[in-house]
Each structure stands twice: as C-alpha cells, then as structure tokens.
Amino acid sequence: MMSDILTSMPTSMPPGFVMMLAALPVIFVPHHLRQIFMLAVIGMSAWSLTAGAGDHWVVGLMGLELVLYRADHLSLPFAIVFHIAAALNVFYGWHEKRVTDHAAGIAYAGAAIAALHAGDLLTLFIWWEATAVTSVFLILASGTQRARHAAMRYLIVQVLSGVLLLSGAAMIYSETGSMTFTAMELGSLATWLVFIAFGFKAAFPLLNGWLQDAYPEATVVGTVVLSAFTTKLAIYALARGFAGTDLLIVIGCLMTAFPVFFAVIENDMRRVLAYSLNNQLGFMVVAIGIGTELAINGAVAHAFAHIIYKGLLFMSMGAVLYRVGTIKASELGGLYRCMPWTTVFCIVGAMSISAFPLFSGFAAKSLIMSALGYKGLVAAYLVLLAASAGVLHHSGIKIPYFAFFGHDGGHKVKEAPFGMLVAMGLASALCIGIGSFPALFYQLLPYSIDYNPYDASHVVGQLQLLIFSILAFTFLMTFKFYPPELRSTVLNTDWLYRRVAPAIGRPILSAIMVVWGSVIAAIAGYRDAILEAVERLMHAPITGPTVPGRAVMVQTLVLIVILAIGYLVAG
C-alpha cells in the first residue's frame, strides 16, 4: 500500500518538517534543554538539505501529485539562510522562559522552510497558510489588547493571501492540468491571483499595511523571528514564479521609495525597521523584475544578506526594548555606555544594511545595481540609488543614533542578556564575513558569476554616497532642520481597512439592515394577514342559504391551494 502513496521513496524527511513536528515536544522540554533540543532539530532539518537537487518526496493524494520536497539552485540559498536565521533566533531567545515564542518560532520557521521546497502550488498553499497560523502566536504572545487586534488583522491578511493563492492554483490546474510551481506569465486571471497572493506577503505598495502594523506589536523575540521568513518566502516565490516580469521593476521602485519617508518620521524604532524591511524588499523585487542571471543572483544575495542584517537590527532594538521597556525614539538615547556590545552590533547591522564596503549589504546590493546598469534602466537605477541613501538615513543612522547616542535618555540599564549577545555577535560576524569574502558568498547563488564588487571606482562612488548622506544628516541636525522624534501614530495603508473601510462600510451596512428589516416586516405582515384570513375561514363557516357541506368544501379548497403554494415555494 505504501508504494501507492509514495511514488518515490524519501531519502530523508523534507526540510522543515521535523521542525514543525518538534513544536509540540518543545513545550514539554525544560528551559535550557529546550534550546539545545531546538538547535538539534534545526540541525536535523538542515541535514536533509544534503539530499541535493531533485524531487525527493512525491506523494499521491486524491489523484493529485504533491511534490513535498523539491530542491534546486534557487531553493538552496534560501533554505540555508532560513536555517541560519532559525538557529540565531534560538540563541537570541535563550533567556525567554515563555514557551509560546519557542514553539511558534520553530514551527513557523519549519513551515517557511517546507514552503521553499514545495514543488507544486497546492503544497505551497498548505505551508503558505501554515506560516500564517504559526507566526500569529508570536504577536499574540505579547498579551496586550493592541497586539491581539494587530494579530487578528495580520491573520486575516495572511489567510486572504493564501485563499488567493489557492484560487489561482485551482484555476491554473483546470486550465493546464498541472499544479507544478514553475515560471508563470501574467495574463490570465489565475496567474494574477497567484501574483497578488505573493504580493500580499511581499508587502507590495498598498498591500503592505500588515507588515508595519503587526511586526512591531510582537514580542521581543517574536519580531526578530517574524522579520526573517514570511516576506523572504514571498521573494523566493516571486523569483520562481515571476522572474523577468517588467511590472515588478515599477512595483519594486515604489517599494524602495515610499517607506523611506515614513521611516524618517516614525517614532517606534521597530516600526522604523519594518518600513526599512519594506524598502529592502523593493530592491529584491526590482531585481526579480529584471530577471537576468546577474539580477536573480542579486535578489537572492540580497535576501540572504538582508535576513541576517535585518535580523541583527531587530535583535538590537529588541534588546533595547527588553532592557529599557520602551522602543520609542523620543524616550531613548545615550545607551551606548550601558549597552556597549549591543551598540557595536547594531552599528554592524546599520553598516551592512547601508551597504558600506566590507559589509554584507555592499556585496549583495552591488549585484542588483550592476544588473540595472547593464540593462540600461536609468530611471530605476536612480530611484534605487536614492533609496540607498534613504536606507542609510533611516536604518543606518536613525536607528543607532537615536537609541544609543543622540540626547541622554537617562536610562541606566544592564547590557543585553548573554544569549542575545551571542546571536548578535554571530550575525555580525556573518555580515562582515559576507562583505569581506564576496567570492565565497557568491558560490551559494543560483548562477555562477564572475563578479567583483571591489573595484576602486565602485568603492569610492559608494563611499561618496554614504559619507555625504551622513553629512546631510549632520547638517540637518546641526541646523535643527531634522524633524524631532514625536510620540505619534503615522497613518499607513492599514488605515484603509482600520478607518476608511469601516467609515464607508458601517453606514452602508446599517442602510442594508434598515431595508432588510422593512422587507422582513412586510413579509411578516402578509403572512399574518393570510393566516388571519385562514383562521377566519376556519372558525366562521359560510352561513346563509348554504348547506354546511359547502363551507367544508370551500375550506378544503383553500387549504389545498395554500398547501400547493407552500409546496411550490418550498420546492
């Protein structure tokens, strides 16, 4: 029987499965041992990557062939960095005794890794939804009313993305008879549905509200975990499904540009990073839109480097939140003396995201910029160059400056817990390693390339961009042009469904309810009138010059008519 179910025998369990299965025992393993157990499980999952390229798990289900484990040159780099991120997150959350963060975190990472290896759209859908259902607990675990509401909005958007994906997949299956997850072309409703499903998770413009809404509401560990997987899974899906789609260049440019303005005025530092995450995704989306081998390498390299440096930045802000109890820029400042290691690690993350030479962002972003240049896409190039200056501005300078320097916030706190420092230290080492040895790093990428980011011309140009951006910041601060950090809420696209939709929807719904009420009342009126007439007929037989039999006959006829109408209506 087994041979009917498994059309090809597995060499090992698909990557990520064991991590999802471990989520339950994780709850019962005591603290410390739990973290070691999780690291072992992540190691086991990573070991299954050694099966190499090919379809390793194909399962027959109700006439469909589900490819649970497909590995190739595109899935591998994502799988490697997802495992690295999962392991770093275990170190980062070592101090955390609340089990929700750990169980949800490992199941979520496992689901995302499993999704990377889905060879068909139905399997992708299953793990796509699993990432939503597991990760929502990282937000819920905050325990506040605010977090609960954000978690529900997050879940609705994520599930909606899944529903769109499933609808698109079903239509593709009915059109082509195949569910294989491979390159698609925008054109039919089916592929548009899949594209928009990916767009929700990749935080396309207008579909991005959930990201800045929900991530900063998660727990200290939760936000770090969230930052790694969902959006980069979407980037992987776009790279596989829609590489070379021109529209992505426009979408990506918008994604790099808009969040920058929001990040400048946002007061919640983890929300600043969520905007910055959105901007970084834009670079990857542009690269996927270009679609050349160099560009896809750039998108993958950027996703790889970004998961680590963005995780590092979120870790440093999480450490500040954990120790100080707030993450509002307006309340922070001067922490460098209390948290020197966190300061150093944050600066490494800041320099990496800003693409300083010798840091990972430089090795990754250079590929994308060159790919744009080779294609002669001047406008997109200038937008991304501006966005690079913007990244430096809000992630490179604003984050470390307002948290650790700036004015003295008067906080006397301890350095971050040891586990956090280990995670940040390892992430920092990776950032510098990738930036310093790009040739080694490029070997992980889907296509083999001969590319050297370190020519004098390129380095000097990039340093000009960076140093003069910082000088602009210094100039603006010195002459008090820089907007002060204010306690505030900045409206983002989630405003559309939190305020606009209810404002328009509620009156429409009430109007519908009024009309519906009057229709129901009218029907009830007619029904009463008919019942009353029948009642009268039954209790007041026709009198006068008739025989009683006639009255009985009339009543019977009326009853037959009513029954017939009733039968017709019910039928």
Partner: protein
C-alpha cells in the same frame, strides 16, 4: 541631575568629533574623486562628485518629504486606541 547633564555634554562632544571625522572623510573622498578615474553603472554617475551631490540632495529631500508627510499622516499616539 549633574550626571545627566555631564552625559549630555559627553554626547555633544562625541557629536562634534564625529562631525569633524565625517568632514575629513568627505574631503578625502573629494580629493580621491580627482585622483582615481571613477566611473559608474550609468552615464550620469560619471559626472564628477555625482554620488556625493545626489546623496546629499536626496537626504535633504527625504527629510523635507518627511516633514510634509507629517502634516498629512501624523495623528496622536492613541489614534487607534478605541479599537
């Protein structure tokens, strides 16, 4: 309270030093621009000091854009608290 102001003075001094270091780095880069032959990915980038000027202008523009955005999109901190 004196510790507080002492710390503020220290931060101000660090800021001053950082500014001088940055200015020096900027000056070095300007000199380098005319020592090495720098070329970019697109033609515009070959204009002398293009990345420096572009970055400076963009950063100022982002802040101006941010101030403008604050006028239309900034609300009280408790704006959504009635949910």
């Amino acid at each position: 309270m004196s510790g507080h102001s002492e710390e503020s003075a220290r931060l101000a001094l660090m800021g001053k030093w950082a500014t001088w270091v940055l200015l020096a780095a900027g000056a070095v880069l300007v000199v380098l621009e005319f020592v090495i032959h720098r070329h970019g990915e697109i033609a515009a980038e070959d204009i002398p000091l293009f990345p420096a000027v572009y970055a400076f202008v963009i950063c100022v523009a982002i802040v101006v854009g941010g101030i403008w955005l604050r006028k239309i999109a900034m609300r009280d901190e408790d704006y959504y608290d009635d949910e």
